[in-house]
Symmetry: C2
Subunit: 461 residues, 2 copies
Amino acid sequence: MDTTHAEETVSTELTPIWETIETLMSHDDREGLASLLSAVPASDRVHAVFHLSEEDQAALLRMLPAELAADLIEDVPDSHAAELIDALPVREAAEIVSELPSHEQADLLSELDDEDCEAILQCMDAEDAADARDLIGYDSDVAGGLMMKEFVSFPAITLISTVLAELTSHDDDYALYNAQYTYVLSTKTNRLLGVVRLRDLIMAADGATLRDVARKAEWVSVDTPVEDLAERFQATEMRTLPVVNKRRFLLGVVRRDQVNNALAERAEQDHLKSQGIISGEELRSMPVRIRAKHRLSWLTVNIGLNMLAASVIAAFEGTLESVIALAVFLPIVSDMSGCSGNQAVAVSMRELTLGIVKPADALRVWGKEAAVGALNGLALGVLLGAAAWAWKGNPYLGLVVGGALTLNTLIAVSLGGTIPLALKRFGVDPAVASGPVLTTVTDTCGFLLVLGFATLALPLL
Amino acid sequence: MDTTHAEETVSTELTPIWETIETLMSHDDREGLASLLSAVPASDRVHAVFHLSEEDQAALLRMLPAELAADLIEDVPDSHAAELIDALPVREAAEIVSELPSHEQADLLSELDDEDCEAILQCMDAEDAADARDLIGYDSDVAGGLMMKEFVSFPAITLISTVLAELTSHDDDYALYNAQYTYVLSTKTNRLLGVVRLRDLIMAADGATLRDVARKAEWVSVDTPVEDLAERFQATEMRTLPVVNKRRFLLGVVRRDQVNNALAERAEQDHLKSQGIISGEELRSMPVRIRAKHRLSWLTVNIGLNMLAASVIAAFEGTLESVIALAVFLPIVSDMSGCSGNQAVAVSMRELTLGIVKPADALRVWGKEAAVGALNGLALGVLLGAAAWAWKGNPYLGLVVGGALTLNTLIAVSLGGTIPLALKRFGVDPAVASGPVLTTVTDTCGFLLVLGFATLALPLL
């Protein structure tokens, strides 16, 4: 890092970076913007950009060189990037999109309306556009949706010396491809025949052709799901695998880190879903009305389930009237059972992801969780029971409340461990549904147990 | 895949794999075990292994060739792997550990007691042991804890032809290193001087030395935190960065995918923590008592907070006695506010991870969340109010309950967005604490609002 950059970074300690950006924008100082944005670390850059209004963000993209604008677009989440690209004139949007690698072009363009997407593709280099069109057609969680079009391939009869000359002459282009592997195609049918590592090219004898040094290529089919890709990469030392169609034509390559990123992204989405953000990604830069609507769709289902569970309380109004103190314990029992159950849900979700359990193991999991639920239920029940006894001076109140919590914890924990497996078996997304299903059952049971026990013990309370 | 393997895979469809493993083990059929376990896909292998008792798992490791045992060890989570290694005789443990790459050796050994760790190191090849000892000394979330010792380096005066001869002669060793880069050291001081890509070696003129073709190396310091490493990799096209100490001696290399994995792992841990699994990782294979204890530590804090919040209800016993129906609505209001608030927490946690918000943005986030909270609060409040009115035929009950939910949702959502930022600013882990802090506040406020409004409107109810 040279001193100019260092100084700029220091000067931005005083004024927030986004204000400096705004100042530079108002002076139309394009060079200043470009040098500022290439100097600040990526995380500060994203943070600063999200402080600008959405119009300013789009205006900023127009003032930067296309390459730098593409870097910014890569930094922000896809859905937001699509909105920004959408706000630009088609020609400028196309210039920026052209600077992205093919798989990111496809991710971005697939977030746009068909019409906008086509308009941008029309303005792009014909070959790039054809690649992007190709990739948009695949689901994002199969090899086709993850692959990139940047790869190196030659017919089998090509001389090694020709390949090396080609690789070293177009150095810049191939640097983008990060090509460690040269794929070898059948000279007649164009099918994938094999692969040659860069190292093998060096070792080859003079006058040899690719056919002489090629190894059998491992390949994946274009519709291989991302989990299977992860396994393939676990079993191989290759950093990149070729993606082929049914006739074994080479369509693209998929990189190990793209597969890992896709899995991490999915885990993140699952976490958001489990907390009631089921729309996938939500950013605060989205319009309030849309954010509220997405969240509300999950909340209304939940409030319905909640009322259902609470209606149990209404059935015991008589008991409640006689022992009004019970009203204090109802939310405690339902909340705590929910917490205990969610711990079990979290462990099951993780073990599902790691492949340690499968839906068929539900009974085994039930047994293991029941043991934990019984222990913790007993501990929490004794605690709450003692508190109730101490508060009202009535040991029977303690027994009712503590007993209900013990039993309900046992139910919540054994159910919490099993529900994700059961949902998965029946094809329901466990990340979205486990929480609501669990709390509805444990709330209902909790209210039933507290008020039921109390009704039985009414003369003693 | 050859036909023998395919047949074996089919035959295991009928009997579960773990039963086949048990049968082979009881016949001491080591070859059969080795060929079975190399034939099944990684995910089925993990699943099968976790069906065995822990003693059988350890026995299985002893019956497999060390290389295959090491593959299995790599497949299972670190803490479980450490337990298995711990259960083996030292010499056999050392044989398996020796087959792992250096950074995984370190991860595994650092989970063991100092004594067991040292015993295994004593049995290992001296050079490997020295590498592993070196790596164990670093925290797992800095470059030192992520780096591996497998890299290629030569003094600057080395002839390119010598390097190429070396790289191609030890093909197998270097394949493990997956070496795309050769690091160039100062001939006198041994400091890192530069880097040469494999491609540059090919292009070099006859008789050239490394010094002639080396580029300036980008490097990271050994104490660089993982977030900063992620940024460095975002800004470079290098797949691997060299790790140096203060004197710029080359200590190891860190790979892009190791950094990504470390970040994904942390996100996963954060998710578990937010659901009350604060011990880091829990596997059902751990003893019940330990699992129960870990979960209970978080639950007891939570039940304390819960009782605190519920004590508000006790203060309004008079109001509750007059309008017993309120007891039905107390859990609904507190649960629903918790759900709405947790949605905001999830969005803030994600934006923190993405670097889109920082603690200093709390006020801005508050404003944005308040808007969503007001909208959804109104929607949910009207819904619940209408239900209450319809049930008891009293519009004022609807107003009390609906108004309380509206206001409490507004509070919960604006707090939910802000709490993670505030906790982070004060150095508390937001993944662990956001949930309990949020629900304590929203429960308390929810009870206060419902019962407070009801007390004011008592003559009308």
